[in-house]
Point group: C2
Chain length 564, copies 2
């Protein structure tokens, strides 16, 4: 992500970029010498800029959209001009939204209850009808949609692991939508398929698998990536389950931390293991799996006649940001011949930081890894990778060889048709925005972003760890950007620990959160965990956030919580 | 979709649109009276247009991107201007792409083999590096990405069930990317969550479920939607599988047509049934399930000790476009108490056509329906709905009640937090583009699009059914837009049927397809099916296609195939 450093420090350029620049870049240079005559030559158009080297640049004209309809746009006859004008009006709405998102005087959200929005806000009618609306109304609807939404890119939006609005990623998504294709075959997505392949290889190199070899895909989110890992593990050890079902396998069990993401349990339920056969591992006070507990539970399961199959180690847990000790878990997996998956949906991004990647030490011993660039790395939603050490196993696990899609007699190398590796058929192009961001920032750009976010969270930790009115949920510097804390209103500060205080404290975070949302100034998450009552979970992944935003959050919590 | 009718016929306006127009629309009207003075007032800017009612419209300026980097964009200090200029440059690239996509003199694709693209085409380097590239290089990379891709919106792109480039849908996707949020909670996607709810209700009404009641979600594609249906069916009849796994159920079998989409088998494999326990049903010569075969196979399975659970009826099969007889299948499902799923991924759109919806007669008796607006209805990829008749069952099937995300003590009605119904955690906003298209076209707009596509395919059928050099794969007017045929080159026309002719004919379609891709003029799919050698499967879902494009396709096939 672009940092807020001055331009002077940002001057280094790829030494190869001159070589890489093809002739078509000349339009950019030529444009720079566009003279006033050229600029003002337009008659009816606000901008007329002819450039014989390339297509005409867009011209923003005066258009009355009140009598235009969708049917007047391309491919309609004479639809080109209304199409371009409509898209430019949309871009006008969107670029204004982008500007305001980064403006701290803008609210994070303008909250309304479901029934209010359903009743219709100032003419914003969500109902669908038989007859078309004019393009003018469509543009208004778009403005309203943004108006009543949540600005997840706002510097004070801290509510989710995914936050921020990366401009390169955004541009990449706009291009992806315009290309409107599907990842299942090289035939219709040649460039995107290759970009995915190269990017996955690069990610596997960062994990530390030899030569970046292995398998992988981008999937629709970390939960599906984790589901893939369980499916692939099952296929590795009991390939006959694919054809014969779970009755062909013994009673299998999976292991994951009690702090791990709920998607492991969901995968267990969906894939036919049963959620009760997902055995939860105890953690230390920081939320990290206790390896001895894993071994004890493996032995116990075996004694009960179950067959241990799979262990998930979390690299960056959802609430505490804890990193399980991968090496110690890997030792146990090797000893008992179990599949080791690392769920790095949240923490995987730290592999890009020389300072922080040690927290995933041992990840190269994993059989599979989930890594969501849409979280810590600020890639727009969604962008999640499942990476697998063994090459070819995904196709073995999932292929059904559909003749209508994966013809073996195409004229190109059909090993590039990746669709049969997936549980999806059509697959959205999630790679391009990520590839483009990587090009635009370089690995060092991601590293700087991650280091900055971790610095910011340490700033928050240092600020509140001894501050009056705060209690940390766990001691010590957080491993990830998660800072978990209770705010104790003055009315509770003298109260002895006990059920009454617990009950009251449990209601503090929801009340403050509700006030935040009503006032629209900031958003941060809260939840209970185990026997701990509701506490705030602050996370930093938003590249727009600064120390002043952290200060603002604390001020808001105190302002809103002071009288509770 | 916008049709190519003249504007005069497109003048009808929603009678309510005046009431719906909120004050904020005034900017659009005001803009219309912008005077020349306002237009030319800019000094350094090409366009300067102040309007006190609203934010400034964008200003396209001369920007040298060769010394600008991602880190110079927002949220960088002084990043606003480079951000807007960068996005506008991107829009310039994209709007040019859009224009050319609808221009028949543009190629559908500029084909290169994987190794060619990997080696780098004229400086288009796919490799990622540690150091950032300039924004100038990024813009060039974007142009190259589009240049070497496939124009799926081109009027002569017929290769996939999803084709076309809907301008409203495209604008909707641009907005979705800019909002960059997640469907899992009302908290961060209030408007989108409500739009999804209303749209799903509308779809259920069209299916014919009373009052549009029921359950549903948009999922990442038809394969996942079909997977949901199997999971939900299992949960309905054997809810204990969720916690205890498949060992808590008897040996379950699923039924689906031999012509059905491979995702039913994939779901069987993934969910632990085993692909062999997905029993394939015989079809008639048109690819429609023979109900008597279903009943015979149900009885056979029961006799062998299996428990029939689920029947999939396909509404619009992938290759033939066949509609299984839903009512007759529903009778059997009722008799044997089985879950009936209708896979209308491809054919569901016909529910919007008064002329063609009878082909799904009986769909209201289904327990669940897959319906992909991204196929027949031209919504950008991806947009797939799983619709379920029983309300609340999706949450029962999938919920894991993650405390960090689905807090019960929020200030709003948390029944709007839909995330726990999904197997995904994060879920991309697939609804907005569809909702916006529905607003912009009305139901009648979708109907017109569907009727037009079916008319076009009938035009193709009539053109080739008795034409020299063509054999139809099945007799009679196609039920959907699928027209399946062999082109017989002159060299094979006199040849008696037999292995030699079959082998030669099998190679014709791949050869013609390869030539099409090399020349880039058009694209159409082919495949074998059962014992039938490779044949072309023509499908029409592209709103840009006309009779002249159908004629062009046939001309191309004959031109390329004449000497084979």
């Amino acid at each position: 992500m672009a940092t807020s450093e001055p331009r002077a420090t940002g001057g280094e350029q790829d030494p190869n970029s001159d070589n890489l620049r093809p002739p078509s870049t000349r339009f950019l240079q030529k444009n720079n010498s566009l003279d006033d005559k050229g600029r003002l030559a337009g008659q009816k158009n606000l901008l007329s800029c002819d450039n014989s080297d390339r297509d005409a640049r867009f011209r923003l004209t005066e258009t009355d959209f009140s009598n235009l309809f969708a049917r007047d746009l391309l491919p309609a006859k004479n639809g080109e001009e209304p199409t371009i004008q409509f898209l430019l009006e949309m871009v006008d709405i969107l670029t204004n939204y982008v500007k305001k998102t980064f403006d701290r005087s803008t609210k994070v959200l303008d909250f309304h209850h479901p029934h209010q929005l359903l009743e219709g806000m100032e003419g914003f009618n969500l109902e669908l009808s038989d007859q078309p609306e004019s393009l003018e109304q469509i543009l208004v609807d778009c403005r309203d949609t943004l108006k009543y939404g949540v600005r997840t890119g706002h510097p004070r939006f801290f509510n989710q692991l995914s936050s921020g609005l990366d401009i390169i990623g955004l541009a990449g998504e706009w291009l992806t939508s315009t290309a409107n294709t599907n990842m299942f075959t090289y035939e219709i997505a040649p460039v995107f398929v290759l970009m995915e392949q190269l990017t996955l290889k690069k990610m596997r190199e960062m994990i530390g698998w030899p030569d970046g070899e292995g398998d992988g895909l981008f999937s629709p989110g970390g939960a599906i990536s984790n589901m893939y890992s369980v499916m692939i593990a099952r296929y590795k050890y009991f390939p006959e389950v694919k054809t014969k079902g779970m009755s062909a396998a013994p009673r299998l069990v999976l292991f994951t931390s009690e702090h791990s993401h709920y998607s492991i349990k969901k995968a267990g339920a969906a894939l036919g293991f049963g959620s009760e056969n997902v055995i939860l591992l105890s953690t230390d006070e920081r939320g990290r799996v206790i390896p001895a507990d894993l071994e004890a539970k493996i032995i116990d399961a075996k004694q009960k006649g179950y067959v241990p199959l799979f262990v998930n180690a979390t690299a960056g847990s959802t609430v505490y940001g804890a990193f399980d000790p991968i090496n110690e878990i890997a030792d146990i997996c090797e000893k008992y011949n179990l599949w080791l998956h690392v769920d790095g949906a949240w923490g995987g991004g730290l592999l890009m930081s020389r300072k922080h990647r040690h927290k995933l030490s041992g990840v190269e011993r994993a059989n599979s890894v989930t890594w969501n660039p849409h979280k810590m790395m600020g890639v727009p939603l969604q962008c999640s990778a499942i990476l697998v050490r063994e090459k070819g196993i995904m196709a073995g696990c999932n292929s059904m060889c559909a003749g209508y899609l994966f013809q073996p007699d195409k004229q190109y190398d059909v090993t590039y048709d990746t669709g049969d590796k997936a549980i999806q058929c059509g697959r959205h192009v999630d790679i391009f925005k990520f590839w483009l961001m990587w090009k635009a920032k370089g690995t060092i750009g991601f590293e700087q972003h991650i280091d900055k976010c971790l610095d910011l969270s340490q700033y928050l930790y240092n600020k509140i760890k001894n501050r009056e009115g705060y209690e940390m949920v766990f001691d010590g510097v957080p491993q990830h950007t998660n800072v978990c804390f209770w705010y104790i209103p003055p009315s509770l500060r003298g109260m002895p620990d006990g059920d009454e205080r617990r009950e009251k404290l449990h209601r503090v975070a929801p009340k403050i959160k509700a006030m935040m949302m009503e006032s629209g100034t900031t958003m941060v998450g809260y939840q209970p965990q185990g026997n701990k009552v509701n506490f705030f979970r602050m996370v930093v992944s938003n590249p727009a956030a600064t120390q002043s935003d952290i200060d603002f959050l604390i001020d808001e919590i105190e302002r809103m919580g002071n009288d509770l």
